[in-house]
């Protein structure tokens, strides 16, 4: 899922600026699961921002709506009515959600309330870890299901750097060495011979370095 974290109250206050009626739009999918932009979180943040603005003697009226998914136009229609009553919208979706709302409401200022971070998994309650870079050319089959592109600090494709300390990454000892994990995993599944394959330099044109990407699945188009 997409993992995000909320902006600080100070930043939210500065983003809202002089608007007096604002809509806080939550998203009920990824950012709800990562406890950043769901109904509960925007409830807390709207209290905090409202109080902060009142103390600055610039009261702001904040309404809240959380829709199922901000990144799908179909669900955005539920924002139309509440959006018509405000001066600006603060989206608590990921970056895609913010842009989808901005496209849907071209005459309304739309701001981001979250910092979108990465594609990751829930490791334990309230702890998320990055697992995927979205490079557009998945090589996980080569590495026993552990991605060195994302999880090795140096993105090495042909073995460890030699700087790891025991089983920890030398860049951040709190992180396991991805290549140690790959070796252990391939050993466990009896595929150590995969390490003898020399991986050529990665083609990064499939990643965002080649500009914003688009996928068209003709068989599903109507």
């Amino acid at each position: 899922m997409i993992v995000a974290s909320p902006k600080s109250i100070t930043e939210l206050k500065s983003i809202i600026g002089g608007h007096k009626k604002v809509l806080f739009a939550g998203c009920g999918t990824c950012v709800t699961v990562c406890l950043a932009g769901g109904e509960r979180e925007i409830g807390i943040l709207s209290y905090a921002v409202r109080m902060a603005r009142k103390i600055d003697r610039m009261p702001v009226e904040i309404s809240q709506v959380t829709i199922e998914r901000q990144c799908e136009n179909e669900f955005l229609k539920d924002l139309a009515e509440p959006a018509s009553r405000v001066e600006a919208i603060v989206s608590f979706g990921c970056g895609a959600g913010v842009q989808a709302i901005a496209e849907r409401f071209p005459d309304k200022p739309v701001y981001a309330g979250l910092n979108t971070q990465f594609l990751g998994v829930l490791e334990e309650q309230a702890v998320w870890a990055e697992k995927c870079l979205g490079c557009g050319d998945c090589m996980l089959a080569q590495f026993g299901g552990i991605c060195p592109v994302t999880r090795c600090a140096k993105r090495l494709l042909n073995g460890p750097c030699g700087g790891s300390l025991e089983t920890r990454c030398e860049v951040d000892p709190d992180r396991p060495c991805a290549w140690q994990l790959i070796y252990q995993r391939l050993k466990n599944i009896g595929q150590l011979e995969r390490l003898e394959n020399v991986i050529p330099p990665k083609d990064w044109s499939t990643a965002w370095y080649g500009g914003a990407r688009k996928i068209v699945r003709k068989e599903h188009q109507v």
């Binding site: 600080s8 109250i9 100070t10 509960r40 409830g43 807390i44 209290y47 905090a48 409202r50 109080m51 902060a52 009142k54 103390i55 003697r57 009261p59």
Partner: protein, 165 residues
């Protein structure tokens, strides 16, 4: 009696008392009904005195207190909030008090950022027999709030309702 809603009824005597609180700090105390509530009752039975601006709200467990509940209290002008839960390991709902402690820490950070001073919020853990500690903690937070001054939002709430803000 004055009726404020379908279920709530406030005696006139209490309203009169609230109107005469003057500059007395208004402190809300969320009490877990398994420990702090009993400590409050014990303090009452022993005729122990604490600030008249204190209001007690019993809750089934401190883990049941949402962050919005505390923020709303401050938004409406309360000067200080004390959350009183069971001693570590003594929560009837296993870890409700520990969860509440983490939430309180987060709200303190938010209050600091808002400019309201996180010191206005505090959580303590005690057992049902600790009436003396219960009263001491109430007095402590009342002193802290007295030092910090009234919640600036209380006056602003009045101005807002009068349309002068």
């Amino acid at each position: 009696m004055i009726h404020t809603g379908a279920q709530e009824t406030i005696p006139k005597s209490r309203i009169k008392r609230e109107n005469t609180l003057g500059s007395e700090p208004q402190v809300l105390v969320f009490c877990c009904e398994y420990c702090a509530r009993s400590a409050a009752v014990l303090a009452g039975v022993r005729r122990m005195q604490y600030s008249p601006g204190v209001r007690i709200i019993p809750v089934p467990c401190t883990g049941k207190i949402e962050m919005e509940h505390i923020l709303e209290a401050f938004d409406k002008g309360v000067d200080g909030v004390l959350v009183v839960g069971c001693l570590e390991g003594g929560c009837h709902h296993v870890d409700g008090n520990l969860r509440a402690g983490k939430r309180v820490e987060r709200i303190r950070e938010l209050l600091d950022e808002i400019g309201l001073a996180g010191e206005r919020l505090r959580m303590v853990c005690l057992a049902d027999s600790m009436a003396r500690d219960f009263v001491r903690n109430i007095e402590d937070i009342t002193q802290v709030v007295r030092r910090l001054g009234a919640n600036p939002l209380r006056e602003l709430v009045r101005e807002e309702s009068a349309g002068t803000l």
